[in-house]
């Protein structure tokens, strides 16, 4: 079986578990929504302030939601020792990494669509200025976050790592994604926010950073995931 077919089997399994457990719907989405509402209330009723800060708050919500999703993804593997089963299976270790990253990407993209709609309503952010740029920013940014989370999420098998090491590793590494994501999102909504310094062209250039980030971490995960999984 090829790596991609093995990865597809793992991703399909993860998505099936997520659909059954409804974790994203029951825990992650309310968390992201609460975060945005609290920030919105804290910033006050000024529409300009809300629109200017909306891209950053949006990506902050995505980051925190993604950390919860990574944890959930590996919790299912550790509940009854299933990760051992994956480790013992005669499959490419890269397939486990790619499958889990793909499943989390799909979950996060669906979550982001809901969060984006919420931001559009609460903060008055228009998502129609450059929808292609906006979609590319979220797809590439989510792929990057998923690659980092799935690579280090395997450390979730260790209770000590779960509480301390995982956030310490993932959150700093996510900074380039956040920066590029926020800038590209701001550029994609520039016409409505009035942020003159940020142009659509500069938004597309931030996507290059996301592409490079994705390439580095997908390649790194494919190569080193097996070493993290083995004793």
């Amino acid at each position: 079986m090829s790596v991609l077919l093995e990865a597809r089997a793992i991703a399909a399994k993860d998505l099936r578990i997520e659909v059954r457990g409804r974790y994203a719907l029951a825990a992650v989405l309310p968390f992201a929504a609460t975060l945005l509402i609290v920030f919105g209330l804290a910033l006050g009723p000024g529409r300009a302030t809300l629109q200017t800060t909306a891209p950053a708050l949006l990506w902050l919500a995505v980051l925190f939601a993604s950390v919860l999703s990574f944890r959930r993804s590996y919790e299912a593997e550790t509940e009854d020792g299933a990760l051992e089963g994956l480790a013992l299976a005669p499959i490419d270790r890269a397939a486990i990494f790619l499958g889990k990253a793909a499943a989390v990407t799909v979950q996060l993209l669906l979550l982001e669509a809901a969060v984006l709609a919420l931001v559009a309503v609460l903060f008055g952010l228009s998502v129609g200025s450059d929808p292609a740029l906006l979609i590319c920013a979220f797809v590439l940014g989510t792929m990057g976050l998923s690659a980092v989370g799935s690579l280090f999420g395997v450390l979730e098998a260790s209770p000590r790592a779960r509480e301390a090491v995982f956030p310490l590793l993932v959150l700093p590494l996510a900074v380039p994604v956040l920066l590029a994501g926020v800038k590209a999102t701001a550029a994609a909504t520039v016409a409505d926010t009035g942020a003159a310094a940020v142009t659509t062209r500069s938004g597309w250039s931030w996507l290059l950073l996301l592409v490079a980030f994705d390439a580095v971490f997908i390649a790194a995960g494919t190569l080193v995931f097996g070493y993290l999984l083995e004793d």
């Binding site: 399994k13 578990i17 009854d80 004793d231």
Partner: protein, 237 residues
Amino acid sequence: MTAVSPSSGLRRDDPAGAATDGAGPAVALDRVTRVFGVSPALVRVDLRIERGETVFLRGANGAGKSTLLRVMATLLSPTYGSGRVLGFDLMAEREEIRSRTEFVGHRTRLYEDLTAAENLRFACRLYGLRTDGAPAALERVGLNDVAGERVRGFSQGMRQRVAVARALLRSPELLLLDEPYAGLDTAARDAVDDLIRATVARGGTAIVATHERARARMTTRTLFMQDGRLLPEGVDA
């Protein structure tokens, strides 16, 4: 079952296939030591188990039985020493060993939010087997009536039977069972016995860590462990 082993190319229903891969004994360990932190769990274990044997490992809790099985399953690496399983090196040829070995441990390695049938079908996909063997495997352990139910609602005994059904899918050459009878009812115990007998009947090897004395009639040898050491044969811990 007629699926093809992804690594060996042997047909899974080939009765001779179980004993023709690799060369030498089923297990050959040479002074294998495993240390966790500063605590040795295995101390200079020398062990040779021939193909076709059914070996019971006995000893008190913490004697090192589980660690020894996990080393043979390639889940743990020896800190010192070397070994070969089914003719393949423990460290350098892990994939070859894994494709021919089934390990059933304390935990059943099932996904709680998948049904019994879905768990088995996923295992089939991982091992390159046809998924249509799953219903028959569940029927053999008496779980076909609950095949469509989520594992989350299963008792420990039912989970263990699903794990046995998963092992039945593959016809492994080496079966490693860690306390397989713990907490099981009679039907589930019989399912474990059937798995051991089926493996050995194909020419495979079964190594079982257990406290069960009543099942000793199934064995060709019983080995005893104490404080991480394998006691000389004939010595009871």
